[in-house]
């Protein structure tokens, strides 16, 4: 039985994934990658939730992470639908070029 992994590693792992997600969101030049970045941030939160739910008898964390996954899927589908339309009109997916709404 492998001894228990040091609990802080999980928190650090989820923090790492969270920061990676943020980096991807900001740096990537394609909207799809921004969505991937958001997914990463959500999964980092899931990791945390699942890990901490072991101390909570009611298993709320796991239940929440299921809902997070479901809602993330919904969000991505909506995002892709909108991106399709943008591609039809603007022929670009780079968020930096989408600058027609100025002050």
């Amino acid at each position: 039985m492998m001894e228990m992994i040091n609990p802080t590693y999980f928190v650090f792992l989820s923090l790492f994934i969270f920061c990676a997600g943020i980096a991807i969101v900001i740096i990537k030049r394609s909207a799809i990658f921004v969505l991937i970045g958001i997914e990463l941030m959500l999964n980092a939160a899931n990791l945390n939730l699942v890990y901490f739910s072991q101390f909570d008898p009611g298993m709320n964390g796991v239940m929440t992470s299921i809902f997070v996954v479901v809602l993330a899927a919904a969000e991505v589908s909506i995002a892709l639908a909108i991106l399709l339309n943008i591609f039809k009109h603007y022929k670009i997916t780079d968020p930096d070029e989408l600058t027609s709404l100025k002050n």
Binding site: V25, I26, V34, P95, L98, S100, N103
Partner: protein, 641 residues
């Protein structure tokens, strides 16, 4: 008594009423108003005749301020004088203004002036006096600027009013100080209560009086007032309005401190001398008479200063007649010169001469009144001047300040000289034109004859030499008890006669028709050497006003005091600086104060631009800003709490 109570308000209202009637119908406006004034004169005579003790009429104008009139012997007599001179002037101007289109406006303004002058003489409360004081100033503004077509005349009217306004500001200050310091606010009370005013209030009243009676610092406006029609100058700027200052000082003299009286004496003397010098080299016939009026007023003010106020009032009385006479005579000369040839300046003495035979009545009237002015014995001028000279001499002896009597005596001599010069230049010498004009009998001759006659001695006192012999003296100052030492001192008597004769002699010697100076005079222009220039420009008093205003505008550059004289379109370079100062305040007000609001508007635009710069269209930059702020918040909480 009840009759007087009815007559009194009537006397007050008639001039206004006759002015309005005259103003309404165009053709014989002057005739109608002179009938009204004649009736008023008659009532004034009755009033003077039947008045024994003063009548007072007072009512509440404001809470702490009353409005009041009173009539006693002194102002009853002066009211009579005003009525008389106004009537004569109106009769004279029937012909003088016959072909002037705006006769109705002229009559209305004259009526308004007479109304306000009589109101001034009758007022008892100080506020009432101030009210009519300003109304008189306004009517003189309207009359000086009667021929408003010529910009020069309307500008002269405005400047005259402004200088009066400055002096009236001090008078107003004096009136307010009287109210605030709890002194008596009416002449009758001041006389009865005998409260002494403090020095500064006295000075304010003196400056007010000096302004109105054209004394030293303020006499610049009287020469400007000559821009008005000559009958107007005769009435206002010789006999009635300018004496208001003298009347005021007589009324308040019991309340003044003795050093105030000294100020009055010295002020009067200095003015008399300066004006006499200024009258020596003038070309304009009316300017000479204007300066002589200033000089005679100086005499009256001097008389009050030295305590001989009875002589001053007497001099005021006689001066009104012979100065009005001189002005009307000058008026008929100008009228004649204008008829003769309209191109040349009708008032310039250089193109006059030898009018003796052409206008005989005018000549004799001018001669008699002129000699009365110069103080020749057996004429009214001598009597009243004698009284003042005696008073000044006695005052000089008692106070040891001999400057005042010396100036008085010199002025006497100079007066004789300049009036002699004028008579010789205008009426003697060869006749340079042939047209013979007969003065219309009634309207010109009668007033001249009356005024000339009244300048003779016997109308005023039996004994031609004794200054106190004045008929009215007893009437006026009986209750005050004429001071015994006023009787003439032999030395003063002889001195004044000698001075007058020598003045006339020198004038004759210089300006007799054969003398080369008389012939040279026709072509001479402005005097060159210093003394002549000082005299010609009237001691540069007008230039002095411009300097004060320009200096003041420099001193108050921030606020930008407005320089009226400089604004004149004719004064080029210098004029522009005044307009510049005015424009600068306009610009300052427009941009700096107004700019404050525009500045705030642009600041908010600037902040708006800065704030919305964060709102970049790119989504990733927006998210970047979001995360940055969250990071800042986290660091703030980690390390600073």
């Amino acid at each position: 008594m009840t009759l007087l109570k009815i007559i009194w308000p009537l006397i007050f209202i008639i001039p206004l009423f006759s002015g309005i009637i005259g103003g309404l119908n165009h053709r014989q406006s002057l005739k109608l108003s002179s009938f009204g004034m004649a009736f008023g004169l008659f009532l004034a005579l009755i009033l003077v005749w039947m008045l024994d003790e003063p009548l007072i009429l007072e009512w509440k104008w404001l809470e702490s301020v009353n409005f009041g009139f009173s009539i006693d012997r002194l102002n009853a007599l002066l009211v009579l004088l005003v009525y008389l001179i106004t009537l004569l002037v109106q009769v004279f101007s029937i012909t003088y203004m016959e072909h002037d289109p705006d006769q109705d406006r002229y009559t209305a303004k004259l009526g308004f002036f007479a109304f306000s002058m009589i109101g001034l003489l009758m007022s008892n409360q100080l506020v009432t006096l101030f009210l009519f004081w300003e109304l008189v100033g306004m009517s003189s503004y309207l009359l000086i600027g009667f021929w408003y077509q010529e910009a020069g005349r309307s500008r002269a009217a405005r400047q005259a009013f402004m200088i009066n306004r400055v002096a009236d500001a001090f008078l107003l200050l004096g009136v307010i100080r009287v109210f605030n310091n709890g002194y008596a606010t009416s002449f009758t009370e001041t006389l009865a209560s005998g409260i002494q005013w403090d020095g500064f209030t006295g000075i304010c009243f003196i400056i007010g009086a000096f302004g109105k009676s054209a004394q030293f610092p303020f006499y610049g406006w009287l020469t400007k007032a000559m821009a008005g029609p000559t009958p107007v100058s005769a009435l206002i700027h010789a006999a009635t309005m300018v004496t208001a200052g003298v009347y005021l000082l007589v009324r308040i003299s019991p309340a003044l401190m003795d050093w105030n009286l000294q100020v009055i004496a010295i002020g009067g003397a200095v003015t008399a001398f300066m004006a006499a010098v200024a009258a020596l080299t003038q070309f304009d016939i009316k300017k000479v008479l204007a300066y002589s009026t200033i000089s005679q007023l100086g005499y009256m003010i001097l008389g009050i200063g030295v305590g001989a106020y009875q002589a001053s009032v007497f001099h005021l009385w006689t001066h009104a007649f012979f100065k009005a006479g001189l002005f009307l005579a000058a008026g008929s000369v100008i009228h004649y010169m204008h008829e003769l040839d309209a191109t040349k300046d009708p008032q310039d003495m250089r193109n006059m001469g030898g009018l003796q035979k052409i206008l005989p009545v005018t000549f004799y009237a001018f001669l008699i009144c002129g000699l009365a002015l110069s103080g020749l014995p057996f004429l009214s001028g001598f009597l009243s001047k004698e009284g003042i000279l005696t008073g000044s001499w006695l005052w000089g002896q008692s106070t040891g300040n001999y400057l005042v009597p010396i100036l008085a005596f010199c002025t006497a001599g100079l007066t004789a000289f300049y009036i002699g010069r004028q008579i010789l230049l205008v009426f003697f010498g060869e006749i340079s034109f042939a047209k013979k004009m007969v003065e219309p009998l009634v309207t010109i001759r009668v007033p001249l004859i009356f005024l000339a006659a009244s300048s003779l001695w016997f109308w005023n006192s039996i004994n031609p030499i004794d200054p106190l012999g004045w008929f009215w003296n007893g009437y006026l100052f009986a209750d005050l008890g004429a001071t015994s030492d006023q009787h003439s001192i032999l030395g003063v008597l002889i001195g004044s006669i000698v001075l007058t004769l020598s003045g006339l002699g020198v004038a004759y010697w210089l300006f007799r028709p054969e003398a080369e100076t008389a012939r040279g005079f026709k072509k001479s222009n402005e005097p060159v050497q210093l003394a002549g220039k000082i005299s010609f420009h009237g001691w540069y008093i007008e230039k002095f006003y411009d300097q004060i205003v320009r200096l003041f505008s420099k001193v108050v550059f921030g606020a930008g005091w407005f320089d009226k004289k400089v604004i004149d379109r004719f004064v080029d370079g210098v004029g522009v600086s005044g307009v510049v100062i005015a424009k600068v305040i306009g610009w300052f007000d427009q941009n700096v104060v107004d700019g404050l609001v525009n500045f705030m508007a642009s600041i908010s635009q600037l902040i708006g631009r800065f704030v919305t710069s964060f709102q970049s269209p790119k989504i990733q930059i927006q998210i970047g800003w979001l995360l940055l702020t969250l990071l800042v918040l986290l660091l703030w909480f980690q390390f600073l709490t």
